[in-house]
């Protein structure tokens, strides 16, 4: 059904099973219709141009162009695009990036069945929608500094098992500079050590493991 008054939806997720699950939920509703499915950020841009959907359901973790970059690109070329993030990540940093990029909704896949339909309708009618859990997570880190791009990069390398010496060699910096970065990272995250910093950053969506 793609008649007048029907909300046309583009689903972007690299997992076919997840897309199938979303389709199963959406297809029970006479006022909602999936017009296209994409499995990565790049193809979502092309499919958006072709179908001009009313609402996009976007995963964040995808191979190639990820969800946040796709949201930024879509909103740049189509400022009125209405995008809802569907993710397994409750981290405040990840949510903040998506919302700042222009997402109008942020939904955890765990609550999808319950909230998906009302979120699609609400966002289509111009509203924004996120779970209070995400919003309070964002607020709780109000006083904390977010890591800079370079700090997040250093921590991601540490999370991948690299020593300070290896990180320094890869980035073309001195080992002392990397030690300095690590100190700042511990301080900003309130972490006691390297493992603690990686755990906190992964939980908040600052780095992806």
């Amino acid at each position: 059904m793609t008649g007048k008054g029907v909300i046309r939806i583009l689903v972007v997720d690299d997992h076919p099973l997840l897309r199938e699950g979303i389709r199963a939920v959406i297809e029970t509703q006479p006022d909602l219709s999936i017009v296209a499915e994409a499995e990565d950020g790049e193809s979502s841009l092309e499919l958006y141009d072709r179908h001009r959907p009313d609402v996009v359901l976007m995963d964040l973790q995808m191979p190639g162009m990820g969800g946040v970059a796709a949201i930024e690109s879509l909103r740049k070329s189509h400022p009125l695009a209405r995008i809802i993030v569907l993710t397994t990540y409750a981290g405040d940093a990840q949510a903040m990036r998506a919302l700042r990029a222009g997402a109008a909704g942020y939904l955890l896949k765990s609550s999808m069945r319950k909230e998906l339909l009302e979120t699609v309708r609400s966002v289509h009618s111009g509203g924004k929608h996120l779970s209070a859990e995400i919003a309070t997570g964002i607020a709780l880190h109000l006083a904390e500094d977010v890591l800079s791009g370079r700090e997040a990069e250093v921590l991601a390398m540490a999370a991948a098992g690299n020593s300070n010496k290896q990180i320094a060699a890869r980035l073309g910096l001195s080992e002392d500079t990397i030690k300095g970065y690590m100190k700042v990272i511990y301080s900003k995250l309130g972490a006691a050590d390297r493992t603690h910093a990686v755990t906190i950053a992964a939980k908040r969506g600052i780095i992806n493991l």
Binding site: S122, G126, G127, L130, T136, A139
Partner: protein, 200 residues
């Protein structure tokens, strides 16, 4: 000396009743009001979180500062009629969700903007399947000396009643939430505003 006790939190003054719809004033604050959806009115002119106002502050505290943070980060700008729904708020909040409603900057066409913003809030509440929505603060400071309290209340009532006309049977109750110290005077104000509407 008359020592009339203050109304207790949760006391209700009915303003108007129709076949399947009621408008009332509840004593208390949004953070402890029992309803399906809480509508938190947020001005678009705020420059810092402290300016959320006493009517919204308890709800913001219950949400651990989320309203102020979303506002200060610009995720919610507070423009006229803007809405942001927060689902599944934590205890002690006793509602399925909190709807942030932007009440923009003061300026010309205030009555029109207020009515349209309330219509948008009531429409969203009905869309979420809410039977009972509670709005706060009941006493808005519009910042416009030309626009008195009763005219403000009248615009708010018009917005809610618009939706009842358009989507009959969805919403069954709309409450305006006022602190116990302002409960009686607020109820009187809304009664007068409603009389003004029904007279026309």
């Amino acid at each position: 000396m008359d020592k009339t006790p203050l109304p207790a939190a949760g006391d209700v003054a009915v303003i108007g009743e129709w076949q399947d719809f009621q408008i009332d004033v509840i004593a208390g604050d949004l953070s402890t009001t029992e309803a399906d959806i809480l509508v938190a009115a947020i001005c678009g002119q705020l420059t810092n979180a402290a300016q959320l106002g006493p009517g919204i502050a308890p709800l913001d505290r219950a949400l651990r500062g989320a309203l102020a943070r979303l506002r200060s980060d610009g995720i919610f700008s507070g423009r006229w009629g803007e809405t942001l729904f927060l689902s599944a708020p934590p205890p002690p909040i006793n509602a399925a969700g909190v709807l942030m409603l932007g009440l923009g900057p003061t300026g010309p066409d205030l009555q029109f903007h207020l009515r349209r913003a309330l219509r948008s809030a009531a429409d969203h509440a009905a869309g979420f399947g809410a039977a009972h929505a509670a709005f706060g603060p009941a006493n808005l400071d519009t910042g416009s000396p030309r626009f008195n309290d009763i005219a403000t209340a009248r615009s708010l009532l018009r917005g809610v009643l618009d939706i009842c006309g358009l989507r009959p049977g969805k919403l069954q109750r709309w409450s305006f939430v006022a602190p116990p110290t302002e409960f009686e005077v607020t109820a009187d104000k809304y009664r007068m505003a409603l009389e003004g509407l029904t007279d026309h």
